[in-house]
């Protein structure tokens, strides 16, 4: 007997019911006001125009009364406008495009590994298997010092890499926006694994001869989510200092962190982390609202450090031979999922339309009171956002999030393609993904973007941006020369 097709009619009906429900709840206020307005209109028509005129003239308009009420209205309006938080605009941002000479195709990486790690074929085999499944492409880049055989991770080389990536990104940004270094009031630099004294922020101040009262901050050790942390700090500062520009520089310096040992959990970062940097210009000046690309709507930070397992998930330590490396635990996916759930419960109410929130609430109540076995309702975030930028931590992270949030392939395309073209550039990956969406010409005015980043600690930070003006395909972008080749299909395993 042929298998019967499932009954589609039921699910189709349900789809329309859901649509109707969403429409109703989201526009509830309008639906309530319409009968009220109709009622008033009917009443007015019934009473007649002369009655209304009589009513109007009977009101005594004393000068004092009028002045008082106008004054009151003005005071309340001023207080209301002044107490609202200042808008934070993202004027523009720029991503570092690594030079072709730093390219590390799979063959180069494997040959390099074989040459420097001759005594450990098992480690080499492991790295090869990781690369095959990593989702990285052939054009990702490593800094020059790592290309040496053996690599030369001196402080000098690390500083050189920092200068290369950071200064290129900032020069590009200054060109694009036309602002001068002397205009910058706040500078936040984040680089997790390299923090010399004087700091990278001092290096930026020195190179660009910034003002002596620039408020500079250098965040370090905060993992791949530090980019959004820096934006959060810049936002808090911009709330306090009017008419200011904030420059946020997110990067990860790879040179000092190439792991030379054999511990598998520590070899993973070698295969995934690549060179990258992003410089972002934020402003709270109202006159930038015409040229700013985005406006920051929400930023939510979640720190799962209190949970021991989450805390040990990304951990820098020495292996038994005394070599320092970053070990990624096997529970990374599960912990990322947990952290995301916490983050969503905070950001959900802020961004989801009322219909989704009510549904979530009802299913929650239903689960608690009636049937605990019922599956939890995952709110439909596609309703709230038009674009998603998920930290390109690795293919598994993107797969997991796509599943958890029930996103389509197009939604995660930016993340996958950024991972393919640039690798895991840590805190700057979100900006490469945003650049991809712009380069594809998909960003229109009013679109909302959700950036999600994970990092050591374990942190999950997310930011919601609203597109301020339709963005034409940018003439300079790290994707300029390759955007036509994308999207590419990334097979499960690339045979090496």
């Amino acid at each position: 007997m042929p298998p019967t097709l499932p009954n589609f009619s039921n699910s189709v009906k349900l789809k329309y019911v859901k649509r109707g429900y969403q429409c109703l709840v989201n526009h509830l206020l309008t639906f309530l006001l319409i009968p009220l307005m109709a009622g008033i209109l009917l009443e007015v028509l019934r009473v007649g125009p002369e009655e209304i005129l009589n009513l109007w003239s009977s009101l005594q308009f004393d000068l004092v009364h009028v002045l008082c009420s106008v004054f009151l209205i003005v005071i309340i309006a001023t207080i209301y406008f002044m107490s609202r938080p200042r808008p934070i605009y993202l004027v523009d941002y720029s991503c570092f495009k690594p030079p072709y000479t730093c390219r590390v195709p799979f063959s180069t990486f494997m040959e390099h590994s074989k040459l420097i790690n001759k005594d450990n074929p098992k480690s080499i085999e492991f790295q090869m298997r990781i690369l095959e499944r990593s989702g990285l492409g052939e054009e990702t880049c490593l800094p020059p010092a790592i290309h040496y055989i053996p690599p030369t991770p001196t402080m000098e080389a690390a500083r050189t890499e920092a200068e290369l990536v950071i200064f290129s990104a900032i020069d590009n940004l200054f060109n694009k926006t036309g602002i001068k270094a002397k205009d910058i009031d706040i500078l936040v630099v984040n680089c997790s694994l390299f923090s010399p004294t004087p700091s990278l922020s001092a290096m930026v101040v020195n190179k660009y001869k910034m003002r002596s009262n620039v408020r500079s901050f250098n965040l370090s050790g905060m993992g791949c989510s530090a980019g959004l942390l820096s934006v959060d700090l810049a936002r808090d500062l911009l709330q306090v200092h009017p008419n200011s520009f904030a420059l946020v520089v997110s990067t990860e310096i790879i040179t000092p962190n190439y792991y030379r040992g054999n511990n598998r959990a520590m070899l993973l970062p070698n295969c995934l982390f690549r060179m990258g940097c992003a410089a972002i210009l934020l402003s709270n000046r109202r006159k930038d609202s015409w040229r700013a690309k985005y406006r920051l709507v929400h930023l939510v930070r979640t720190h799962k450090g209190a949970d021991d397992k989450a805390y040990r998930c990304v951990y820098e330590e020495e292996d038994p031979q005394g070599k320092v490396g970053i070990s990624l635990s096997k529970d990374l996916m599960a912990i990322a999922g947990e952290a995301l759930k916490s983050n969503i419960t905070t950001i959900g109410p802020l961004v989801l339309p009322a219909s989704e929130q009510l549904l979530f609430l009802f299913t929650l109540i239903g689960r608690k009171l009636l049937d605990p076995k019922r599956k939890p309702y995952i709110p439909d975030f596609k309703q709230a956002f038009d674009h998603f930028c998920i930290h390109a931590g690795g293919r598994a992270v993107i797969d997991e999030l796509q599943k958890n949030l029930q996103l389509s392939a197009e939604h995660v395309e930016a993340s996958r393609m950024a991972l393919h073209r640039f690798g895991n550039t840590s805190s700057s990956s979100l900006w490469y993904e945003l650049a991809y969406i712009e380069a594809k010409g998909r960003m229109k005015k009013g679109d909302r973007v959700w950036q999600i980043a994970f990092g050591s600690g374990f942190k999950c930070n997310s930011a919601v941006w609203k597109c301020n003006r339709t963005i034409k395909v940018p003439t300079d972008s790290p994707w300029l020369d390759c955007i036509d080749r994308y999207p590419v299909h990334i097979p499960e395993i690339v045979k090496l």
């Binding site: 009151l72 709330q239 306090v240 720190h303 600690g457």
Partner: protein, 458 residues
């Protein structure tokens, strides 16, 4: 109809008035930053080092010749650092040349857990009430960050705002306060913890470059944890209130930027290089900072005097030592960064300070050494232990750091303070009759002037 209007009017008035009062109150207490308590770290006695011990450690370094040994010993003996300062455990155990990652972590953990436990215990604030955490340790930054380490240990909340500042030198403690102060303006009734320290164990220099070996001998272990709040209802428990904070960054000047740099020597050994231009950069940064700070704290008469004298001296003079500023009219106590005897003397001279004013800094340098970013808090502790801080007094904190930065802030004392804190066991013996290093006679031959040797004054 009229009756309705009148009643509505009378109901509206008190609600409007209360709303306005709330607004004005908010505006007045807007972003006030109070310190509830601070706890400086006193390492255990088995970590004490004296000049002899330090001398022996230097002797162990095979790369140093007799000239370098003599240079270092001279520096230590004349540095103003006493016989009871503290060093990291791995240095005491003789493993200074091969520090491991764990050594660095344990050094920090020992400090965190001791001071934070005491801080939470003394104030009765639970770790889960903390909204903001800022940690600054300049020369050590593992992953996950030291801040995450603290969050894990104390099980702090998920929505905590945490920042881990690194690489910002000896003035980073005031940068952390700056972050807290700014965030306080946007968030009501928040608690913040600032943890400031320096990591010495993993940063031992094992070479023989003169500009880099000095750092090994001058820095000592120490740290401080501070609990701050902007909750106006806790005003009566607060001990200090922040009046203003000024930051100056001279990074744009290449000379200033290069004067304190972490780098590798000719043979690839990492260390911290202090150049001979350091005092000059410090002076420049200091005066620029003062020029912004003075208007905020000086009474009008002195301000006018300062401007007049400043513009007079500034015209085309080669040896510009800068005008002396009588900050004493606006400030009662001075917390100077204990960077070294020369720093304290230099700042004291520029501000026209007496020995009484400089005593807390000198004694801190003697008892605890140069603990980098946290030194200001030990100086503050000395003043408190000596019962100098009375309600309404103003305390000025000045610190210098790599970059080159000069940060300063002014605290107002909220009530008479008498807690002996970290100075409990030593305060009765301070100030000692003489600060001369007891090894002066033993190493007297050091003091003979050498024609071709120039010491950077520290």
């Amino acid at each position: 109809m009229e009756f309705l209007m009148i009643t509505a009017f009378f109901l509206a008035i008190p609600s409007i008035i209360s709303f306005l009062i709330k607004l004005i109150d908010q505006w007045r207490n807007h972003g006030n930053c109070y310190i509830l308590h601070y706890e400086c770290f006193k390492p255990s006695d088995d970590r004490k080092v004296n000049t002899e011990f330090s001398g022996n450690i230097i002797k162990k370094n095979k790369n140093l010749g007799i000239e370098e040994y003599r240079f270092l010993l001279r520096a230590m003996v004349s540095s103003g650092i006493g016989e009871e300062t503290y060093a990291p455990r791995n240095v005491i155990l003789g493993k200074e040349e091969s520090p491991t990652l764990l050594d660095g972590i344990y050094e920090m953990e020992e400090f965190f857990y001791d001071t934070l436990d005491k801080l939470f215990h003394r104030t009765g604030v639970s770790p889960s009430e903390i909204d903001i955490l800022v940690v600054n340790v300049s020369m050590f930054s593992p992953e996950p960050s030291l801040a995450a380490r603290i969050i894990n240990r104390y099980k702090m909340r998920e929505d905590i705002k945490v920042f881990n500042i690194s690489g910002m030198g000896c003035s980073a403690s005031l940068i952390s306060i700056d972050i807290v102060q700014n965030i306080f303006k946007s968030y009501k009734k928040a608690f913040a913890v600032v943890v400031t320290s320096e990591s010495i164990g993993p940063n031992w220099y094992s070479g023989n470059e003169k500009s880099m070996i000095l750092v090994n001998c001058l820095f000592r272990s120490g740290g401080c944890s501070i609990l701050l709040t902007n909750n106006p209802t806790l005003r009566n428990r607060a001990i200090f209130r922040l009046k203003c904070l000024v930051r100056t960054h001279l990074g744009a000047n290449d000379e200033a930027y290069e004067c304190a740099v972490q780098k590798e020597d000719g043979l690839g050994r990492p260390g911290f290089h202090l150049s001979k231009d350091l005092p000059r950069a410090a002076t420049k940064a200091f005066f620029e900072n003062l020029s912004v700070l003075a208007p905020k704290i000086l009474p009008l008469k002195d301000l006018v005097q300062y401007i007049v004298s400043g513009s007079g001296k500034g015209r085309g003079e080669k040896n510009r030592t800068g005008p002396t500023v009588k900050l004493k009219n606006g400030i009662d106590h001075f917390c100077l960064h204990t960077g070294g005897k020369a720093v304290i003397n230099g700042v004291g001279k520029s501000l026209g300070l007496t020995e009484y004013d400089l005593e807390p800094a000198r004694m801190t340098l003697h008892r605890f050494g140069n603990t980098s970013a946290s030194s200001l808090w030990y100086v503050l502790g000395y003043m408190e232990a000596k019962k100098r801080l009375r309600k309404g007094d103003k305390v000025l904190m000045i610190s210098f750091g790599a970059g080159f930065k000069c940060n300063s802030c002014v605290w107002e004392v909220m009530r008479d303070l008498e807690d002996e804190n970290v100075w409990r066991e030593s305060i009765s013996s301070y100030p000692p009759k003489n600060l001369v290093n007891p090894y002066m006679e033993k190493y007297g031959w050091l003091m003979e002037e050498d024609a071709h040797e120039t010491l950077p004054r520290v």
